[in-house]
Each structure stands twice: as structure tokens, then as C-alpha cells.
Amino acid sequence: MILLGAILAGMVVGVSLASLHKRPWSVPPLRKPWLAILSFLPQLVFLYLPATRKWVPDELTAAGLIVSLVLLLVFCWFNRQFSGVWLLAWGLFLNLLVIAANGGFMPISPQTASRLVPPETLAALGNGDRFGYKDILLLPEKTHLIWLSDFLLPPVGFSYQVAFSPGDAFIAAGAFWLMVMPGKALEAPKIILK
């Protein structure tokens, strides 16, 4: 939800800025969109579709998630000329790193998870159990690269509680930036020699 919110917010800001400067705005013409769709397929089958998710063993799901993330990195490479894609790629790389280091799932600590589900739900789960779609409940001392895991949370009073990783924050920033400046490529700083 927060990531789709970043796209939507970027679109609103992008359209507003474009109309302010009286220039046209369009969705970035991403190259090889079929690759992103293809990359998402393993996640759709193994993680999101209720009919298939329950039949897939965790090992296969973990492998599918890693393959999917690697393919998405390739998609980033084909679209590296667009502004924002480097942020997307960096966030994706950080998530891939921590997921690969923890058996193919994004680790979340019981303390963080306690902000998301009722205590009785959490009590029924043990160390190493799946949590949400891509997460795995892991004690901090059992977690590799804990500073890249889902440990970030909005303020306590916030109506929508969600745990996210630093990688997710980069992905949200990248998606926002891509929609604000859809046609602009990141330019290297120009050095003028005198």
C-alpha cells in the first residue's frame, strides 16, 4: 500500500508541476515492461494467489522470491537512463541482500510484529514462522543484516501501521521521483575546465 501510495503521490506532484510549467506529463516510457510483469509472476503464484500459495513449500517460495528480485534488477538495468531508477535499484538490491541472507524471506522481529498484529496472533507464532506475504518472524540475534530488515515503523498514533525496510524507503522514493520527473534522465554533473 505505501509503495503504491508513492507512485500515486508522485503522479499527483508530477502532473501538478507539469501543469504549473505548462509542459506535458506522461508515464515514463519504461523499456521492456514485459520483463517486470514476467519477474512478478513467481511472486504472484507463490505469495499472493491464495489458491496456489498454500500448496507451495516455503523453500520453493523463497527461491522464487530471489529469482523474481534478480529479474527485477535486470529490468532496472534496461531502464537505467530514467531518473529515479537508480533509487529503485538500490532499494531492490538492499532488500535482495537481506532476503538472501535470511533464507529467502524478509526478517521481522517479534517486537516490530507486535505493532502490527494482536498479541494472541503473535503468541501463536514461533521463531522462523512466515509472517505476512514476504516476511519471516526472526529473533534479532538470529537475524543477518538486521539494519536492512523490516524494522522501520510509522509513529505509534498513526492509523495505518506497517513495517518497512530501508530498501522499501528507497523504492518508495525512487517510484515517487520517477513519476515526478518521468522524462528526465539523471545527468552527471558537468565539470568545466578552464
Binding site: A6, P33, A36, K134, Q161, I171
Partner: protein, 47 residues
Amino acid sequence: MKTQIAKLFVFTRMINRQHIQIVFALLALVLFVLGAGAPSDGGIVSH
């Protein structure tokens, strides 16, 4: 009936290659962020 078919024909002619590319690019971006990101709101817990 003929009018409706004519209207449909005009509408489909308005959907050009560029529109399809835009829809594909947007779909790719949405699936990218859903695929690359791993936030959790505790959605489904049991598997």
C-alpha cells in the same frame, strides 16, 4: 446497433499504440514496486 458498432470502432481507433505503451509502463511500474518492496502490515499470518 449499427450506430453502436460505429461508436465502438471510433473508440478502438482512438486507442493507439502510445496508449497501450503507457498502460504497460504503468503496469510494469506497479508490479515492480509490489515485487521489489517487502513492507508488512501483518496482512496474512497463517500459511
